[in-house]
Amino acid sequence: MNRKDFLRKSITGGLAPVVINGMGVKAFAENPLMQFLGKATHDDRVLVLIQLNGGNDGINTVIPLDQYSKLMAVRSNIAIAENKVLKITNNTSTGLHPGMTDFRNMYNDGLVSIIQSVGYPNPNYSHFRATDIWLTGSDSDQNLETGWMGRYLDQEYLDYPNGYPNANFPDPPAVQIGYLISPAFQGADASLAMSITDPNSFYQFVSGTVDPAPNTPAGHELTFLRLVAQQTQQYSAVIKAAAGKAANLSTLYPTAGQNSLSDQLKIVAQLIAGGLKTKVYMVSLGGFDTHAQQVVSGATDTGNHAKLLSQISVAVNAFQDDLKKLNIADRVLGMTFSEFGRRIISNDSLGTDHGAAAPLFLFGTQVNGGLLGTNPIIPGSATVNDNIPMQYDFRSVYSTVLKNWFGVTNVELNNTMLKPYPTLNVINTSATGISERDLLNPESVSNYPNPCNEYTTIQFNSSGGLVRVALYDSTGKLLKVLKEATFTDGTSSVTINTSHLAIGLYYYQILQGSAQVMKNMLVAR
């Protein structure tokens, strides 16, 4: 572990409930600890979000073959013929839509994790409200004005947009392919995403004298416009540079203009390979609001929904192939989501109305491939009101991505997700060392006496090996590495002289591998 990683991991756990001198994490922008933490955000993992606008029909996407007769009872006019459903490896009760051959092959190769029935309590059936819920990560009855990614990135890019881009953070925190930036990226003060449609084509602005903005709503908008202009000018250069450094290598992408998702993912692969340090990309595919003509009558494996799923399948497979050839596959995680699934029972227009929970896909070399959860239960005689209940909260998926993919601290996780959610076993953590965190038992860490005066003894339980014990002051500044040595498995202790320390609050940290515990102690006399 290098110093950067050390510092990156050093603010988890114990610090979470602590308010330091009445200030929060954001206030540490200028102290060395937080600056190092900020720099550490350059670790190279990327998340690609694929939004399926309109509400994807989950039941016709991931098909519960074990209840096929019931399926025929409730949606006979749109159900996929049983013999056309694509089989998946090691599973006879679930299949995939026939348009998804490439994606099925990815699944069989362990590159896809399917999470069943993702939703939230008290589902909302309005597109706009449901989309807001997914993008902000709110409860059903809660309005949040920041997006889930905005809250996360706000903590990685402290005080954004003030002073960005800069030498340490030359690249945009997030990139949205398209004309409009998703509310998911709305941070406390600004959106953290930059919107592009063509990485090679930006138009230059004029630059010159700037009058002070007046103290009015007009001045407020003026300031916003100037900020976008300034950042666009600065970020456009780095994006062009990244696009210029790499070319797509996969031959599987359809011809440009035929598959909009594929066209978007091509840009993403090119920018990642070109060295852009952007952490999150969002792309989208519309048309999933299939109230009518979801399928062709009598040929239910064709029609609008089949075309859409086939586009996803082809585009994602080409993208994954490209990532592999560009040698960046291990750094990229993909995730699909849609504002809701659709009603169990179909309507007379060969379509489905707004529904609730639906499957969600994660893909990449670092997913734990397979199927999480059970098939949704299809009632034998569904009524128009029946919906798929959730098995997994979508925020559990978000939390898992943040924790096991980006390796966020508990403080960051809490600030982003606002509540604790269970972590799902869908991302391979062994490659990241993140599971090492569990080796240190936080309950075992304590110091005595506390408060202390001349001396205090720090006790911890480790699995043995190299352990580092460090002391921080109340502003989070590293004061001293107290001990860095090989310890044996079991309980160990380090006694430190505190007589020279001023009265006040301090933190000590026990670090082993990437596992660490931080606790506070008081010096009093």
Binding site: G22, A188, D189, G208, A218, G219, H220, L227, A292
Partner: protein, 571 residues
């Protein structure tokens, strides 16, 4: 549940306390891009009392920026002889006759030969032709651009756009150009009319019946799409915590069962056999109203009337529409003062007038609140306003009617540029319209990002320098003709002030104007005489190519700068 401010939210969410932002020297940063305005900003408590203050150039410019798509110097001069009340009345006076319909501009081409509609004739009543739908939609959008470019000095274009955004439909989903035209004509004809009647007509409008699946909505299998959006987006909204229930959506869908479209007649009709004749029970939000199931040919209309009476009986409907008008004409922040002093009395006037749109728009535009200096210049132009408005200000010359193909090709170019900037008229992103008018907290700021802002500049730069050439006709700004309108174009100070007044709702400082003058009109020199001489040389010898080039180069560069300033994006 009430909205949580982002600061409070962060405090609640994190176990940490967020300290105020430290100050940095790099940018003069005043917290852009949020909903809650910075606390140090002045706020206004003005209301709907009729404005009696000065009605000078600043007020005229404000009125025109908000009610027209851009403005020309001639537009401003036109209103200079009027009082405020006369000016607003004039703007609200829309000629009763509908504009002539869009024409076949495509049939000149072998690929798009129209077997039923001759070139130059209208297709709006012709048989549907799948092979020509793309060409006809393009004809429709071109035609719409032409109407926007027409200098009629009334509010019809801004209001038609308002209703297009409110009752949003997409041509790509309706897929019948005749329905699209009919729907558009309905909005245009009623843009200042009776809102309740408009809701009724839109509900049974063929394009809407396609767009939100009303034509698929039957008693056997109700389709909830329209029943939901009617309440969520078109009438009651979701601004308040209490709102209609999911069962109300289902009940509304059942009320609306039985409406069908006839492609032959280009009209909707009511099919009694598809109508659910049972009673429809609504929730306590609607006072447990029961709409009696009807039979017979009038059943659909009678039940629709009952349901609209029920929806309009809720005062929230009038308030919701007034808030949308407010965000379209004034600003997006609706605080308690605005709600009390503007929205509530305006909504009352709306109800008292039986939902007469003209009454509320007139009241709003004539109010002290509208002319409050704090409400000036704080909107970000919608892309179509940027494209059309710039073209109108620069008095861009289009081909005449002698060549329809050429005309339409140039109009559609403007449409396509607006689409590149994020506003494809006829095809908003979805049924909610453009997010700039509803997405909290950014609102208009959503028009602006790293993709669209450069393109907004690109339009004017293209028109200044290279122009757009098609069928041997070039669209290009004539900067000399533009400048010639002003009283003293030879005086660089007067010229820059006059142009900036038209372009920039937030005035430029004298220092900025001096910088522009020196950099562009004086080519770095200090004396005004350099520009005055150059201009007079040209005027004395307008056929001298070198003299013309000297001033054209300077005017183009200056206008590029004027358009490129952030101030130009405001209105």
């Amino acid at each position: 549940m009430a909205k949580i401010s982002r600061r409070i939210f962060l405090k609640d969410a994190a176990t940490t306390i967020v300290q105020e932002k430290p100050t940095f020297a790099t940018i003069d940063y005043i917290d852009p891009s949020n909903k809650t305005l910075p606390r140090h900003l002045a706020k206004t408590s003005t209301g709907l009392t009729e404005y009696t203050g000065l009605f000078n150039e600043a007020q005229i410019l404000h009125l025109l920026r908000r009610t027209l798509l851009g403005l020309s110097k001639a537009d401003v001069d036109f209103f200079k002889t009027k009082t405020m009340s006369e000016a607003v009345d004039s703007i609200l006076n829309i000629p009763p006759n509908p504009p002539p319909p869009p024409l076949n501009n495509y049939g000149n081409n072998a690929n798009t030969a129209d077997p039923t509609v001759p070139f130059g004739q209208t297709w709006v009543n012709a048989a549907v032709n799948p092979n020509l739908e793309g060409a006809r939609m393009s004809s429709f959008k071109s035609w719409w651009i032409r109407l926007m470019l027409t200098p009629n000095r009334n509010i019809s274009e801004k209001m038609t756009l308002f209703w297009h955004n409110h009752f949003a439909t997409q041509t790509t989903i309706v897929q019948d150009s005749r329905y699209v035209y009919k729907h558009h004509s309905l909005l245009r004809a009623n843009c200042l009319g009776d809102f309740k009647e408009l809701v009724k007509q839109v509900t049974i409008d063929p394009a809407m019946l396609v767009y939100l699946n009303g034509e698929d909505n039957t008693k056997k299998s109700p389709d909830e799409n329209y029943g939901r959006e009617l309440q969520e987006l078109f009438t009651i909204g979701k601004d308040i915590a209490e709102h209609y229930t999911e069962d109300d959506v289902k009940a509304a869908a059942r009320v609306l069962t039985g409406w069908r479209n006839s492609r032959t007649n280009i009209a909707s009709f009511f099919d009694t056999t598809k109508h659910d004749t049972n009673n429809k029970q609504f929730s306590s939000f609607y006072n447990n109203t029961v709409i009696n199931g009807r039979t017979g040919t009038n059943a659909g209309m009678d039940e629709l009337n009952d349901m609209l009476n029920m929806i309009f009986a809720h005062q929230e409907t009038s308030k919701y529409i007034c808030r949308k008008l407010y965000r379209y004409f004034i600003y997006y922040v609706i605080d308690e003062s605005v709600e009390t002093n503007v929205i509530e009395p305006l909504a009352k006037a709306f109800r008292d007038s039986n939902y007469d749109i003209k009454v509320v728009v007139s009241k709003l535009l004539k109010s002290e609140h509208f002319f409050d200096p704090l409400n000036m210049g704080c909107m970000i132009k919608q892309p179509i306003d940027q494209v059309i408005g710039s073209s109108r200000m620069m008095e861009l010359v289009f081909p005449d009617a002698s060549n329809i193909q050429t005309q339409y090709a140039h109009w559609i170019y403007l449409q396509q540029f607006s689409a590149l900037c994020g506003q494809d008229i006829g095809d908003p992103p979805n049924v909610a319209g453009w997010p700039a008018y509803y997405e909290d907290p950014q609102f208009y700021e959503l028009w602006i990002n790293s993709d669209t802002l450069p393109k907004r500049n690109l339009y004017n730069d293209t028109m200044l320098y290279n122009g757009f050439n098609r069928f041997s006709f070039k669209l290009i700004y004539d900067t000399i003709s533009f400048v010639n309108q002003f009283p003293n174009p030879e005086d660089p100070n007067a010229l820059i002030s006059a142009i900036s007044t038209l372009c920039h709702p937030v005035p430029l400082s004298q220092a900025s104007k001096d910088t522009i003058k020196k950099a562009y009109l004086l080519s770095g020199q200090d004396s005004d005489i350099y520009w005055t001489d150059a201009w007079n040389t040209y005027k004395n010898n307008p056929t001298n190519a070198a003299a013309k080039k000297t001033i054209t180069d300077r005017l183009q560069a200056m206008m590029k700068y004027m358009f490129g300033l952030a101030e130009y994006q405001l209105c």
